[in-house]
């Protein structure tokens, strides 16, 4: 019995190991991707990462004025990022209190989960097709396209380019010993559960495997995004795909 069971079990274990070791984009031609494979590529792959970003603290009016601004900043990444009820609670008790800890939740930075995705990467595009994802952000110009999903929505209205204009100058791709690459455009699209900010970096950046790593930095209002991608992982069909 033992002899009978062992070979199939070994095969199953080996197959499982292989499957675990080799994700779809490495082990299968795109034609054989299942919808689950595609979803995995879109959710967690070298081109799609769930990251923890930071919502910086909400500045007081005094701090804003000292910095030359007045009024809480508006727009994507500024509005809707503070949970309801996170403001200061004024207490009638003015004789005792927590001292320096007397502050609201929103006066402190807090983490936020976002998703970064290289929308321009071939495997992502193919996976989007395969998974029937119809809400993929689109830009009209070719380039390295990185989308940031999960930015809270606040019923933003306006042209995507206008909404993205303030964000354009606050993003960069950084590589060691090379000049930072700035996006040529940033656009904001609305989703059901947030907005997606899409940055388009120029192809002239000529990102190559030799760069080894590339760091994506962006400030979206009060949301600060900083993530490093390992370019060595981002190969598809033997080529770097971004």
């Amino acid at each position: 019995m033992r002899k009978v069971l062992l070979p199939p079990l070994s095969l199953i274990v080996a197959a499982a190991s292989l499957m675990a070791a080799d994700p779809a984009w490495k082990s299968k031609p795109a034609a054989q991707w299942t919808e689950e494979d595609a979803k995995q590529i879109l959710a967690a792959s070298p081109w799609a990462k769930e990251i923890t970003a930071t919502v910086t603290r909400r500045l007081t009016e005094d701090q804003l004025r000292e910095g030359g601004q007045m009024g809480q900043p508006q727009g994507v990444g500024n509005e809707g990022v503070d949970p309801k009820g996170s403001g200061e609670k004024v207490s009638l008790n003015v004789f005792t209190g927590p001292g320096g800890d007397d502050r609201s939740a929103r006066s402190l930075p807090r983490p936020i989960t976002l998703k970064l995705r290289w929308e321009s990467a071939l495997p992502v595009r193919l996976a989007e097709l395969k998974s029937h994802e119809v809400e993929s952000p689109t830009l009209d110009v070719d380039g390295y396209c990185i989308a940031v999903y999960g930015v809270p929505n606040a019923n933003f209205k306006g042209d995507p380019k206008d909404l993205g204009k303030p964000l354009k100058g606050l993003a960069a791709l950084k590589r060691e010993a090379k000049k930072d690459v700035r996006p040529v455009s940033a656009e904001v699209f609305r989703l059901e559960d947030g907005v997606v900010v899409v940055y388009l970096f120029p192809l002239s950046a000529e990102i190559s495997k030799k760069d080894r790593q590339i760091q994506f930095e962006a400030q979206i209002g009060r949301i600060v995004v900083n993530h490093t991608f390992d370019l060595r992982e981002m190969e598809f069909m033997g080529k770097l795909e971004l």
């Binding site: 989703l191 947030g194 971004l242």
Partner: protein
């Protein structure tokens, strides 16, 4: 290019197209089991009975240049089928597996009018070529490439196949833009959907070069009028944390090092600094208006026990033995888009004590002191999105000279030293705030003069501030002033002044219950007046007017900032006494002057002081405080037991002639020179003199509130 060469090019294209070469089906397609993979393209025709034809061709400009990214639509003449694709590199397009029949071929590209080729006959088993020539009506878009573009160096980051795929994937279909149900598509930033062609087949799905992969025969079905309404949930991007899942920020995981590196001075928490509101929150704010309310009440006891309850020589301490409201202010910031304004009214003792140090209102008419006495800040301006911000503001605004804030709630101590207390609290004029980086502010001023509502003489004042906060624990602020002719009756005398401070936090253990923070400030001031017979240096007899001063404070916070103790003081040496606050003897102010305390060129006032201040700060918007202070002067200056108010306590504490000596009866002597006054007061018991002392000690307590 012959048909053969086109097909050769397409075949080569198919070999390099990556995923497509592996036979990736278009979205929504089913790959028939009997269809060979792309590697078998060459053998496919022998295995499959030809039932479809194909269309291939090149989209060109009228000058024969290829157009990349043109949308080519092939519609069956009888309306029972439509296919579409995007032209790839060199303008080549191809649509395989087209049912035989008569077709219309339409090409659309930015900058070109739609072009249609009609009556194209497709037969099974054959690829029919039709080139589309598009005549430009505007400047061609970058999608147009030159004939030489095929020689793009191989080092380019993407190959043609990928560009082609992307071109197909990202090309939007204008008719489908928004899924918003709450606002018109043209005003709502909604996601653009991938273009969907008729029969539910996305445009992007038609492989440009996938000649060997048959498409199913399109069904005769009405084209969907709307895009799908939602993405599959499983592929939707991760949502932000739900609003209901409010994290307890106070115990939340420590955030990463990410900070706001754009908004000036937002990269760190500077609320520990002197002259900075320690509040971490704004209790109430709206998009248009952020209110501000301040209350400042104190009780002071001057150990000299002046019987007229008058404290002398400060802009923070005024009355002894009484509860007094020093400041009641309401106002706030107005902000709408980039237009901004701020107003803060000033009631309480500040309304009468601050303006009295300005003599400029005596120039001309309209009672400027009366006009401005209840206003501490009132200005409007515009914010330009230049660098990290550029503001142009005009009106009356608080000056920054002397480090300490005009508003005591913001300060480490209640009574600052002379270099702060004696230097201006407000300016009237125009300022420009330029933030070239998020750590630097450069702020030039064009103002009426030194602490003045009006311009004293011919020259306005010019000056500026440089504020540099490169890190959370350090601040450098440098204020410079010059050119102004700021003396009443001295039209040719100009003033220059420098006021420079640093703030350093050298200990910071915010979680400690004992000492959690220690910091110090150091301020150095220097200045002088010159011209009109007055000079900066030299012997006192040469009408020397100069100022040198400094102050230093060290603050220790305890118990997570619940308590703080500040110890410090300073010193000033002021030749000409032009920055020495005039004691309000008999109601004297900057205009009237006083014969009892002259401020003539070459006269010196040298003073020093020190304070110990305890602040209890249970909430961020309230401070309970107590302070002991000692001040010393080389000349009689502070009010003694006899006070500085003439006998008789005339209305307002003055006999109405503060510029004259008063008699012992309290009546004016009619003279500002002592010999004449002595003569005139002979029948009134002689000349009255205020009780001025060289030192003063006082204890103060109070409460300050700021929202």
């Amino acid at each position: 290019m012959t048909r053969k060469s086109i097909m050769t090019a397409l075949s080569c294209f198919a070999l390099v197209i990556g995923a497509e070469s592996l036979g990736v089906p278009a979205y929504g397609q089913q790959v028939p089991r009997n269809v060979a993979q792309a590697s078998d393209v060459s053998t496919a025709p022998t295995q499959v009975q030809p039932v479809f034809g194909a269309i291939a061709g090149v989209v060109r400009t009228s000058s024969k240049l290829p157009i990349v990214g043109a949308m080519v639509t092939v519609a069956k003449a009888d309306g029972k089928g439509i296919w579409t694709t995007i032209s790839g590199s060199e303008g080549i397009f191809s649509i395989p597996n087209v049912a035989p029949g008569e077709y219309l071929v339409t090409s659309q590209a930015d900058g070109y009018p739609d072009t249609t080729v009609s009556k194209l006959q497709i037969t099974a088993g054959r690829a029919t070529r039709t080139d589309v020539i598009m005549a430009a009506n505007v400047t061609p878009q970058p999608a147009v490439i030159t004939a030489n573009s095929s020689t793009t160096p191989p080092a380019a980051p993407r190959d043609k196949a990928k560009q082609s795929l992307l071109a197909r994937l990202v090309k939007p279909q204008p008719a489908l833009v928004s899924k918003s149900q709450t606002a018109p598509p043209d005003t709502v930033a909604s996601l653009k959907y991938p273009p969907i062609a008729a029969f539910g087949i996305p445009v992007a799905n038609t492989p440009t070069a996938d000649v060997g992969t048959p498409l199913p025969v399109p069904q005769d079905a009405p084209a969907p009028a709307q895009a799908p309404t939602a993405a599959p949930a499983a592929t939707a991007p991760a949502a932000a944390p739900a609003a209901s899942a409010l994290p307890d920020a106070l115990s939340a995981p420590a955030p990463g090092p990410a900070v706001d590196n754009f908004t000036p001075f937002a990269f760190a928490d500077f609320t520990w600094m002197n002259a900075t509101t320690r509040s971490k929150d704004t209790v109430l704010d709206t998009k248009f208006f952020t209110p501000e309310i301040r209350f400042d009440t104190n009780y002071m006891t001057d150990f000299n026990q002046p019987h007229d309850h008058t404290i002398v020589g400060a802009t923070e301490s005024f009355r002894s033995g009484e509860v007094q409201i020093e400041q009641e202010s309401v106002g706030g910031d107005f902000h709408w888009q980039n237009v901004r304004g701020r107003i803060l009214f000033m009631f309480g003792m500040f309304a009468t004590t601050t303006p009295r140090n300005d003599a400029s209102y005596a120039v001309g008419q309209w009672d400027l002191r009366g006009a401005y006495k209840y206003t501490s800040e009132a200005w409007g301006g515009y914010h330009f999105n230049v660098n990290h911000g550029l503001n142009v503001d005009a009106g009356i605004f608080v000056s920054y000279i002397g480090l300490f804030s005009y508003y005591n709630f913001d300060n480490w101590t209640y009574q600052p030293s002379y270099v702060s207390s004696n230097t201006p609290w407000f300016f009237n004029g125009v300022r420009v705030q330029w933030f070239p980086t998020n750590k630097l502010k450069i702020e030039p001023w064009f103002i009426n003069g030194w602490q003045s509502y009006a311009k004293f003489n011919g020259h306005p004042g010019l000056g500026g501030q440089l504020l540099w906060q490169p890190t959370e624990w350090f601040k450098l602020v440098a204020n410079q002033y010059g050119y102004g002719q700021d003396n009443l009756g001295l039209p040719h005398t100009e003033r220059i002044h420098t006021d420079d401070s640093i703030e350093v936090r050298y200990y910071n253990k915010p979680d400690k219950m004992g000492v959690d923070k220690i910091a110090y400030t150091l301020t150095v001031d220097a200045g002088c007046q010159y011209g009109g017979g007055i000079q900066c240096t030299g012997a006192p007899s040469k009408n020397k007017d100069s100022f040198v001063g400094w102050m230093m404070y060290n603050r220790v916070w305890f118990h997570k900032d619940l308590f703080a103790v500040t110890v410090g003081g300073g010193d000033m040496s002021n030749w000409g006494r032009y920055l020495t606050l005039l004691p309000p003897i008999n109601g004297a102010d900057a205009v009237t002057g006083s014969p009892y305390f002259t401020q003539l060129p070459g006269q010196r006032a040298h003073m020093w002081d020190s304070t110990v201040t305890l602040q209890y700060m249970p909430r961020q918007y309230i401070t309970w405080w107590g302070e002991f202070g000692y001040r010393h002067s080389d000349i009689p200056y502070f009010a003694g037991r006899g006070g500085v108010t003439p006998p008789g306590y005339q209305v307002g504490g003055t006999n109405g002639a503060p510029g004259q000596f008063a008699c012992m009866s309290g009546a004016p002597s009619g003279a500002s020179d002592l010999p004449t006054a002595t003569t005139n007061c002979a029948s009134s018991g002689g000349v009255w003199f205020p009780d001025l002392r060289r030192s003063e000690a006082k204890i103060s307590v109070g409460v300050m509130v700021k929202f």
